[in-house]
Symmetry: C2
Subunit: 109 residues, 2 copies
């Protein structure tokens, strides 16, 4: 069906899945890594940096922005994107809680 039955899961499970989905495409990983790498805010050079068309990049940026991981400031005709530090921190703590769970029986299988 292609439709996730969100009602079956806890709020936390749905939230984690939404976050992970954002990282589930290499273009969005590349965008975030570029925003981490450069010294200043990036404006439109993501299109040159990654080999995708401008509307495609814009769409990926929209998703990341919608999730709150990045924010964009309009500067003339350009838009300056960067990581949202506060939201990144929150996301990180959710992800880490999930990743750091103790494995119950390492020798069970």
């Amino acid at each position: 069906m292609g439709l996730a039955k969100t009602a079956l899961y806890t709020k936390e499970q749905n939230e984690l899945a939404l976050i992970a989905k954002a990282f589930g495409h290499p273009a969005r990983v590349a965008i975030l890594q570029y925003l981490f790498k450069i010294e200043r805010c990036v404006c439109g050079d993501l299109v040159n940096e990654i080999g995708l068309a401008q509307p495609t990049i814009s769409q990926h940026l929209k998703e990341l922005k919608h999730l709150g991981l990045i924010k964009g400031n309009i500067e003339g005709t350009r838009v300056c994107y960067c990581i949202d530090p506060e939201n990144w921190k929150n996301m990180k703590s959710i992800m880490k809680d999930f990743l750091d769970q103790d494995i119950p029986n390492p020798d069970c299988c």
Copy 2:
């Protein structure tokens, strides 16, 4: 097009995206959390635990197994699934490297 242009990205970016994709569905998050929660290996009660049909659960398990995050041992007619500790550790380190990057200019936007 619905097709990720993997050639555009680094090996690391593609790998991270593949891992994240596994967590990008609440059913798989729920499966993993259940495997973490229970004391012993789970056999077939995931279908009861999560409210999805048996073929659907089986498909999600297949994806997690393919990625190496879980392993399954055949025990009679049943299959015992559990987290793969070694692969989980490796995956965790990849994810954490990504999450722990330093944010360059917190006040840039």
